[in-house]
């Protein structure tokens, strides 16, 4: 697996998060100066990514779980990584539910939800079983096949942009810090955690990632600002798929397909499915390193069934939103504690060696 493939996968996991309910979270957390919460979140991610990469580069060839296990022992590592494992599972459930409900509302209103969810989970479990190398290869194909559609859908509505909708541009009180929605939308900044599970002999350096990171920031800004340009804040707060509807505002007779959002949904599903596959793969790896080294395919099967069953337990959007709010502290734990634990473990091990 080359560095380039890792970066492509990283970019698409971030993009998948941005196309999910991230936009709604940002619009709920502030009424003006939307760039403030976006850039604050991205800055947080970059800082902890730097810490994480630092920790990983100190012990080459090992993944994050092995590093933490080496310092804190098996039980210590299990204690530290249990919330992280819960984060992975809950994130997966949330991913499945959001994507399936989006597909149901926009694309397949007649198909029963469990059917879409089953196919979604089955594909993710299959990919996770095949390992990250296969997922990374697939991500290259997804980049070529689907990401152009995302770009197309985002930029196609430029004719309807009204730049004045950006204003007011400055929110001096930074009131989004006090809004729960801001923290709910932070799940989108957890996409870097898989970088620590790769067992790389040559560690990734942050300065090699500037291009990818700036693309990520650009995407995060675009998915929020495109619908904002089109609709303006007052009306956008009512919608649950603002980016998608923004792409539907343009009437192009030369495009054969009348219903442009279907491209968007298909592309978003492909990306979110990559995200789900990587998340499931991480969860399987965690169990295999920390608990018992049983074959991946049985784990993928049981976890797939478990996630499928649990995602069916969430009956409606209301409980879905409550679920997202409940798991906020889990992914905050993932973003904040896991990189710090990694760097501390690496430093201790180095001190022990010298």
């Amino acid at each position: 697996m080359t560095k380039r493939m890792i970066f492509i996968l990283f970019l698409q996991i971030q993009l998948s998060a941005a196309l999910s309910f991230y936009t709604v979270g940002i619009f709920e957390s502030t009424t003006k100066g939307h760039w403030e919460p976006i850039l604050a979140g991205c800055l947080l991610e970059i800082v902890f990514l730097w810490i994480y990469l630092k920790g990983l580069s100190m012990s080459k060839g090992k993944n994050m779980v092995e590093i933490i296990k080496g310092t804190f022992g098996k039980w210590g590592a299990m204690l530290i990584l249990l919330p992280f494992f819960l984060f992975l599972v809950t994130h997966l459930i949330s991913l499945v539910n959001h994507q399936v409900s989006e597909v149901n509302i926009i694309l397949l209103p007649q198909t029963p939800l469990w059917m879409t969810a089953m196919i979604y989970v089955a594909l993710a479990a299959y990919a996770a079983n095949k390992g990250v190398l296969v997922i990374a290869r697939m991500s290259t194909a997804v980049l070529l096949l689907f990401v152009p559609f995302v770009l197309f859908s985002l930029l196609i509505s430029y004719k309807n942009f009204d730049m004045y909708n950006v204003f007011p541009l400055w929110n001096p009180s930074f009131s989004f810090v006090g809004k729960p929605s801001f923290y709910v939308s932070m799940y989108a900044y957890a996409g870097f955690l898989f970088l620590g599970m790769l067992n790389l002999d040559k560690p990734i350096k942050l300065r090699k990632m500037w291009l990818v990171l700036s693309l990520v920031v650009l995407f995060y800004l675009a998915v929020v600002y495109v619908p904002l340009f089109v609709f303006g804040h007052e009306s956008i707060t009512l919608l649950i798929h603002p980016t998608l509807l923004a792409s539907d505002t343009i009437d192009l007779e030369w495009v054969v397909f009348d219903w442009l959002p279907s491209f968007f949904v298909v592309a978003a599903s492909a990306l979110s499915f990559l995200d789900a596959a990587v998340t499931l793969w991480m969860a399987i790896l965690l169990i295999r390193v920390l608990l018992f080294p049983i074959p991946g395919k049985w784990l993928a099967l049981t976890m797939g069934i478990a996630v499928f069953g649990l995602s069916l337990k969430i009956p409606n959007m209301h409980s879905m939103n409550r679920f997202d709010a409940m798991i906020t502290f889990l992914f905050l734990y993932g973003i904040l504690v896991v990189p710090v634990a990694t760097v501390i473990s690496s430093m201790r091990q180095r001190r022990r060696q010298t």
Partner: protein
């Protein structure tokens, strides 16, 4: 071999499931209406009329009446022999009576429902609603009523244009209202354009004539080849219109300077005026018209020119929320027009 024996049937099942062919309704078992007419019913709140084009070039009409729009559609579905699919509805015709009471419910219904395209156009029918809705013109099977409003088909700059998502945006916006085309049944064509309805938030509060609609379209920079007549001796074609707004907040209240720059071409010139004379005349005429409209809109509290948008950068939260109610009527609006006569088409400038 053993693997293939297992994998093949599994893949085959996927083909059957994923093809999306379960509970499918064939296209010849569906009605695909293109126009939805909404008026006030005799007994209930809403009366819905759907226009369904048929293969022979005629139109079929479906009707339903109920307290809510979706229930009225449901009643139509029950009555109809085939499935009624709203996916291709392209035009909403709303009766004037209903528009004067507010169209927020209609806009919300259409935005919320996932089978109605948010690109559909909205128009208000003045005069006899049923006559306009049940109006058919013979021997033109190609004509569909929404072509009239389509920028890719029969739209001209004298007609305002309003799509569902624009109506939705403006109903909720603090700083923008909208204009909706006002039509009635034509003699030989489907519609006759009556001007535009001025909407304040979601209510119709007044009308603009066709000439005034053109000014509104200039303000929206939605401009493609519109003709203006000048005091019976010349007429010109507007090639391009750009507008610059400069917003200031003085102690006396908001102050807006709009500079409109027009690029024109002269079509008719009976009294052989010079280009400079015509440019001056156009400038005077448009400035006068624009000021009249601007005053009228302020008295109606309907910011359909979108003046408030220009003030968004300098307003605080409270001013933003009170724009339509308090500040827009106090706005001091100056409009200046500059004209560039690009050419006289195939003639030289001096005709003598």
């Amino acid at each position: 071999m053993k693997r293939a024996l297992i994998c093949f049937p599994v893949l085959f099942i996927f083909v059957a499931i994923l093809s999306g062919c379960w509970d499918v309704k064939d296209i010849n078992k569906r009605y695909l209406p293109v126009v939805m007419g909404i008026s006030k019913g005799q007994n209930d709140n809403y009366r819905i009329i759907l226009q369904v084009p048929d293969i022979k070039g005629g139109t079929q009409f479906l009707e339903g009446e109920s307290k809510s729009i979706s229930k009225a559609v449901e009643i139509i579905r029950t009555k109809a022999e085939k499935e009624v699919d709203l996916m291709h509805v392209r035009l909403f015709l709303i009766s004037q009576e209903l528009a004067q009471q507010g169209i927020k419910n209609i806009v919300d219904f259409a935005m919320r429902s996932n089978d109605i395209s948010i690109k559909s156009m909205v128009a208000i029918v003045s005069g006899d609603f049923e006559k306009t809705l049940f109006h058919e013109i013979k021997r033109t099977p190609e004509v569909s009523s929404y072509d009239y409003f389509s920028e890719e088909a029969g739209w001209t700059p004298d007609v305002s244009i309003n799509r569902l998502w624009e109506a939705y945006r403006s109903v909720y916006s603090y700083t923008e209202d909208f204009a909706v085309p006002l039509v009635q049944a034509g003699e030989r064509t489907l519609f006759e354009f009556q001007g535009s309805a001025i909407m304040s938030r979601d209510r119709m509060v007044g009308t603009l004539s066709a000439n005034e609609t053109l000014i509104n379209n200039i303000f929206q920079e939605r401009y493609m080849d519109g003709t203006i007549e000048l005091s019976s001796d010349a007429s010109i074609l507007i090639k391009k219109a750009t507008i610059r707004n400069k917003a200031r907040w003085r102690s006396s209240g908001p102050n807006l300077q709009s500079r409109i720059h027009l690029v024109i071409s002269i079509l008719e010139n009976k009294n052989e005026k010079t280009n400079a004379e015509i440019a001056l005349e156009i400038k005077g005429l448009l400035e006068k018209r624009a000021h009249v409209i601007s005053d009228k809109l302020r008295s109606l509290k309907a910011d359909i020119l979108g003046n408030g948008q220009a003030f968004r950068p300098i307003m605080n939260d409270q001013q933003l929320k009170n724009w339509k109610e308090t500040w827009f009527p106090q706005l001091n609006h100056q409009i200046t027009v500059t004209v560039n006569v690009r050419d006289n088409q195939d003639y030289k400038e001096e005709m003598k």
